[in-house]
């Protein structure tokens, strides 16, 4: 039964990591637009300016 002393905290830790990850995603607005995210993945070409607006512009003459 000693293994429980390891397994129970470990199970708790794992689910706590999941919980913290969920909180992080929530606070970062990952769930703000569920429909849009589903469509965006279908874009065939990448548009870095959507995510990183400034980088591409600066390279332009």
């Amino acid at each position: 039964m000693d293994v429980l002393l390891f397994l129970i905290p470990f199970a708790l830790l794992l689910s706590a990591v999941g919980l913290i990850g969920f909180f992080w995603a929530l606070k970062n607005g990952q769930f703000d637009d569920l429909q849009g995210a589903a469509e965006r993945i279908l874009y065939t070409d990448d548009h870095p300016e959507h995510a990183e607006p400034n980088l591409d512009r600066e390279r332009e003459p």
Partner: protein
């Protein structure tokens, strides 16, 4: 042509620059509602078009909320160009003003999701331990190990219950401190009692703890609560917004002739105020200097701007379009017509506030009954049954858990979520929690005309064949903000804006050209005798409803531009569908008689009422209501707002004035009215399913309460029964999604099929 400020460009050059926000890095940000964005393709088109603009830093569309967040460098005025660009692509956009309210709403929602996550975390972990303990009852688990597991479960469960139970505890506390009861009171009492019992059991090495049941219960209830919140949207006060509109500062002309911006309440009767072109008029008064076109649509629903000169009255809330005015103040603040609208709206909203959701009415007697039962069970077993206090308490807890209005709590939100989801796929957003309930009983529909039955922009039905004339007219019109000028100006967007254009408010435009003067405007302004014009020029006029604009130049024949209102696609079919379902249809418009009559005639609507003030509209709705009708009001203007609030249910197009959108129960997006009959049928079906679910929840309680009172149920079984009842209710609600009786109507919705009023409709269709 109405509500030029609320409308996106190019309706009348709506100015969105004022709504931009400066970001810390010096760039500008603006949130726009782009209501026609319906799919990933639209998102992409909008984002790419804007990203291609040189100053745009980022443009991101949220497909769920149809909100565009736009970020750019340079001047705030660029915003207008971007809105024009979007409009050119076919995505008219308006300023998203409810940002702050939405943020608040969003944080409540986030809080609920976090509580949900914690409840799930707790339930999953505690259940893992509970299964072990349960298996241990049949195997060889010693008492020490069991207690150890109970202690761990308690350590995990208590903070989780504390955290994720907050939404219920705080609401229950608020209700109890006001000596009232709500659905959260039995939940909270049940949760707290069960937790306390379990802690007591843990400390006294008892065999049973119920932390897992409590957390599972909280989890399920939070799911219901979250769904409910999703549907309800924000409680928005249209009144507050209108009051803000009325409180805008005005420019007073001081004794020394200088202008001073003062709040309206500082004005006195007889003061002179200066009203610049494009400014909203802040007072009721009389013009003493200047002449201009004034858009009064916000107050009386009149679609054509009024041309006013010295001596004419102006009203607060109307919009000065073309020339600067000086007006003598007659009344300000509470005495204005705008304030009257606010009062009407307030009264109507209070009336609607008396509506209560069906579930709330059930809860009203449900909650005290349950508490009495639980108390009776406790006292009965303790005093008469001879049980110890903990055992008697445990039975009372079972009663509370089993009757916990979980199915009841889910019955309404889950059904409404399914219905709202279905409606949102059809382009209708449900805003009020009782909207579907009220919509289900509708048997009369009142339409406002402009913006609901017709589109906002009149359509150009006749233009000259002569391209140089069109070019000249376009370049002249580009200098004016008049709605018709804007329409002509957009005929040739590349035409250079003419420099020496002189605008004569209410008459037209003039510009010196070789050999004389070119004039664009009414027949009178152009020096034409309308009656004496040769028949060929007017023979295209089918309904006599066109608004004409003439262009005269030296050495050329006068040429004519004609505009006619356009029916919304599907308006005709929608009205026919409604009438076929025995729904009474009527038009109540603030517009002039002939216009309303022509539309009513085209649509086969027998009853109509023209030139109605906001109060008239309410009167008409109330008259119908006393005849036993349940009225759905469909309207979009500020002048419709009180009527929207007074009707049993209300619908506004997404492009409507901000305040109308807020006063309405439902908002529909896109150009088609065809969703209206479908909407009514979904609402009726939703109501039936809600009824079934509530009936089921009550039946379930009636069967299980005696069992629980008899002490035959452990909390563990109670929790399972409760979860099962929730699943049944959910399954029943999902049946709604399979509904498609009006699909034929929905697919007939074809945006291209706009019916032009000036084209005759075959006799058979009338």
């Amino acid at each position: 042509m109405r509500h030029t400020i609320e409308r996106p460009a190019p309706a009348a050059g709506a100015d969105v620059a004022g709504s931009c926000e400066m970001q810390p890095d010096g760039s500008w940000q603006l949130h726009l509602l782009v209501s026609d964005v319906t799919c990933g393709g639209c998102v992409r088109k909008v984002e790419e078009a804007l990203a291609a603009e040189p100053n745009v830093l980022s443009a991101r569309v949220n497909l769920s909320t149809r909100r565009l967040a736009l970020n750019w460098q340079g001047s705030a005025d660029l915003a207008n160009a971007y809105v024009q660009r979007l409009s050119g692509l076919g995505y008219p956009a308006s300023v998203y003003r409810t940002e702050a309210l939405l943020e608040k709403d969003k944080s409540v929602e986030k809080r609920l999701v976090m509580a949900l996550a914690v409840a799930f975390f707790g339930a999953a972990n505690v259940m893992m331990l509970a299964w072990a303990v349960w298996a241990g009852h049949f195997a060889t688990m010693g008492q020490g190990t069991r207690d150890f597991f109970h202690w761990i479960a308690a350590l995990i469960a208590v903070p989780c219950i504390y955290y994720s139970g907050q939404p219920f505890f705080s609401s229950a506390w608020r209700a109890m401190s006001k000596r009232q009861t709500n659905m959260d009171v039995p939940i909270s009492v049940g949760v707290v009692l069960t937790t306390a019992m379990s802690i007591y059991e843990t400390m006294t090495s008892g065999p049973h703890v119920y932390f897992d049941g409590v957390l599972m219960l909280l989890f399920l209830l939070l799911v219901g609560r979250y769904l409910d919140h999703k549907v309800r949207g924000t409680a928005r006060s249209a009144v507050h917004d209108l009051a803000m509109l009325a409180g805008q500062p005005v420019n007073r002309i001081e004794a020394d002739g200088t202008l001073r911006s003062v709040p309206p309440e500082k004005l006195a009767r007889g003061d002179l105020v200066h009203i610049a072109a494009g400014e909203r008029i802040g007072v009721d008064g009389e013009i003493t200097e200047g002449q201009s076109s004034v858009d009064t649509a916000l107050i009386d629903g009149e679609t054509t701007p009024k041309d006013l000169a010295v001596g004419a009255p102006v009203l607060a809330g109307t919009m000065n379009l073309t020339g600067p005015l000086v007006a003598k103040v007659k009344s300000v603040g509470e005495a204005t017509v705008l304030a009257e609208i606010v009062r009407l709206l307030e009264a109507a909203e209070q009336k609607k506030g008396r509506y209560r959701a069906f579930a709330d009415k059930v809860i009203e007697w449900y909650s005290p009954t349950v508490h009495t039962l639980a108390l009776a069970a406790f006292l009965g077993w303790w005093l008469l049954g001879g049980l110890d206090v903990p055992e008697a308490l445990m039975i009372a807890v079972c009663v509370l858990i089993i009757t916990c209005p979980c199915a009841l709590g889910l019955a309404v939100p889950i059904t409404q979520v399914v219905a709202a989801g279905k409606l949102s796929r059809l382009g209708v957003l449900v805003k009020s929690d009782t909207a579907l309930e009220r919509l289900a009983n509708i048997n009369a529909v009142i339409f406002d005309k402009t913006g609901t039955l017709t589109t906002l922009q009149p359509e150009l039905v006749q233009r000259p064949n002569d391209d140089t004339a069109v070019r000249l007219a376009s370049s002249m019109a580009a200098a004016s903000r008049h709605p018709l000028s804007q329409a002509i100006g957009s005929l040739m967007p590349d035409a250079r804006r003419a420099k020496q254009v002189e605008e004569h408010p209410g008459e037209g435009l003039a510009m010196p050209v070789e050999g004389g003067e070119a004039r664009l405007g009414s027949a009178r302004w152009c020096g034409l005798d309308a009656d004496a014009l040769e028949p060929s020029a007017t023979s295209t006029s089918q309904s006599g409803l066109e608004t004409e604009v003439w262009l005269t130049r030296p050495d050329h024949e006068p040429v004519r531009f004609a505009f006619a209102p356009v029916l919304r696609p599907d308006a005709l079919e929608t009205v026919k569908d409604l009438q076929a379902h025995n729904i009474y249809v009527e038009i109540v418009s603030g517009d002039r008689g002939p216009f309303v009559e022509a539309i009513a005639d085209q649509l086969g609507i027998e009853h109509w009422q023209a030139q109605s003030t906001p109060a008239d509209k309410i009167t008409r709705i109330e008259a119908l209501q006393t005849q036993g009708y349940k009225v759905l009001m469909v309207g979009d203007g500020l002048n419709d707002t009180p009527a929207l609030a007074a009707a049993d249910a209300s619908l506004a197009p997404a492009m409507a004035a901000d305040i109308s959108r807020r006063a309405a129960d439902l908002v529909f997006q896109g150009a088609s009215l065809g969703v209206l009959p479908t909407m009514l049928s979904i609402a009726a079906r939703t109501q039936r399913i809600v009824g079934q679910n509530i009936a089921f929840a009550i039946a379930y309680n009636l069967i299980l309460i005696p069992v629980a009172v008899a002490g035959l149920v452990t909390p563990w079984i109670a929790a399972i029964a409760m979860a099962l009842s929730s699943l049944i209710v959910t399954g029943n609600a999902l049946r709604l999604d399979g509904l498609n009786p009006f699909q034929a109507i929905a697919t007939r919705a074809n945006p291209q099929a706009a019916i032009n009023l000036s084209r005759p409709i075959p006799a058979g269709q009338r």
